[in-house]
């Protein structure tokens, strides 16, 4: 939750239980957080550079995401957040450096079942795509070529369970294109959940979703991360929610400005990131129901 304060129109945000502080960073910049018991990181960027048509978008990014992390990727528009996710998923290739997903370059990954991706909006939804919500969620169960898939009904128990978890059971038989933006987004989240992924990668998944829907969504992510140990990497402009929910934060502005536990992120770093004064403010009311 961000809050505009006073005539300077500065941003004031604070994770639950933290006091405002102007202290400088604690030396995490550009470094990976502490290890996770010798396991391979789920996702690693090693000195990654990326350019679009010779225009540098990301410069020398080194960070790693460990199993069970909840990582918020923060940064202003054009800072390279979406590019970072696309590199992580093998949808773009690094100009220099190395990206490893589950220890392998994404284009060599064979265990896509471990990955759930939620984009801002799916291309097909704008096209009056005839698929039902149930059909779209069932796509998440894909495990490779199955010549008889056409003849199988899609309402498997996993699909119904995923729909239930996002509150879309009554709309299972509706065309996805007939749903509101928020409902479409929940369907895409159900599609990612049904995969029982170990890693969820989400690119501004609540853009266009109302406040109640956002709260529901963050509760769901919180549960998945805390109770099921699913690793979450989330891009969002909702700084307050990110600082409240995430365990780790990576702040980007083409370079990695900050990477470390969210409670170490200071007003100075946020101000540097967004180019305007940002103050951190205690805010925990909305999550008392948990």
């Amino acid at each position: 939750m961000t809050q505009h304060t006073g005539p300077n129109d500065s941003l004031r945000v604070l994770p639950r239980g933290e006091e405002p502080s102007d202290a400088a960073g604690d030396g995490w910049e550009g470094k990976a957080p502490p290890g996770n018991g010798g396991q391979h990181p789920v996702l690693e960027f090693q000195g990654v550079w990326f350019s679009y048509a010779l225009e540098p978008v990301l410069q020398d990014i080194t960070l790693s995401v460990n199993r069970g992390d909840f990582v918020a990727i923060l940064g202003p528009n054009g800072s390279g957040k979406t590019s970072l996710l696309r590199l992580a998923l093998g949808l773009e290739r690094a100009t220099r450096g190395r990206v490893l997903l589950f220890g392998q370059p994404p284009d060599r990954l064979r265990t896509w079942k471990s990955v759930g991706y939620v984009p801002q909006i799916a291309e097909g939804i704008q096209e009056r795509f005839p698929a039902t919500v149930e059909e779209v969620v069932a796509q998440g169960l894909y495990q490779g070529l199955d010549p008889l898939a056409f003849f199988r009904r899609s309402h498997k128990a996993e699909v119904l369970e995923a729909l239930e978890s996002v509150g879309l059971t009554p709309l299972a038989g509706r065309r996805i294109s007939a749903l509101s933006v928020g409902q479409q987004q929940r369907a895409l989240i159900a599609r990612a959940l049904v995969r029982q992924a170990e890693l969820l990668v989400l690119d501004e998944p609540v853009a266009g979703v109302d406040t109640a829907g956002q709260e529901q969504f963050y509760s769901l992510l919180h549960r998945l991360n805390q109770e099921q140990g699913i690793t979450v990497v989330l891009v969002s402009h909702d700084i307050g929610a990110m600082l409240r929910e995430a365990t780790t934060c990576a702040c980007l502005n083409r370079t990695l400005v900050f990477h470390g536990p969210t409670h170490s992120l200071t007003s100075n770093e946020l101000s540097q990131l967004y180019g305007l004064p940002v103050e951190v403010l205690l805010h925990d009311v909305l999550h008392e129901h948990r």
């Binding site: 949808l91 064979r110 799916a122 097909g124 005839p130 796509q139 070529l145 199955d146 003849f151 065309r175």
Partner: protein
Amino acid sequence: MPAIFEYDFMVRSLIGGALVGAMAPALGIFLVLRRLSLIADTLSHVALMGVAVGLLTHTMPVGVALASTTLGAVAIEQLRLRKALPGDAAMAVFLYTALAIAVVVISLAGGFNVGLFSYLFGSILTIDAGDLWLAGGLAVVVLGSIVALFSELAQSSFDTDLARTTGVQVNGVSILLAVLTGAAITLSMRIVGVLLVGALIVIPVLASLRVATGLRAALLTAVALGVASALAGLAIAFYANLAAGGAVVLTAAGVLLLIEAVVFLRGRKRA
């Protein structure tokens, strides 16, 4: 027995029409959903170029057209998928280049002749058993591929990034779809004509998308409408002594208009 069934050429036409009517929308639904409707028109012109070259050089026109559409389909998809050119630009380049080559080749051959006209507009009188076997074999390959790769085609039509991160080989599926479309167009030329076959790929799909809920349902509805339009159009052509290709496409367009009108009136009634 109705008079239409007393003529062997009409029976062959009806069988050929049903095969084309099933194949074209089955491919078309995935093309329309990917905003690649124009690829049907582009590959039709590439097929025309192949026919013109085949007729000029006295080399199997259908074989040359098939080779041309296959190469054209692969090239267009490679350019599009590698982002060397935007999809519509890649298709436009191939469409106009193929048409220009066809025009030059036709002029070299001294202008249009009956053989070329039969490919341009279709000729139900010229369909022989060999054409039917070819169309039948291709229909088995096209419909079999669509059923076997339904999940991959559906996912890559919905969102290519989502499909890739689910493990679908999007590029391979896209190239296969384009190649099958080229082959279907080439082998449908004799029935509805190279200039009109693209309409059967698009129009029944648009009608289906107005009424069907669910991708499977939309696919099956499009195929049913395609087959019905082809059979009804050929029957109208026979009894009214009209050009078969034109009658088939106008029937499909009529069905689309009818469905649009019904949906519109039902919407107004509800409001």
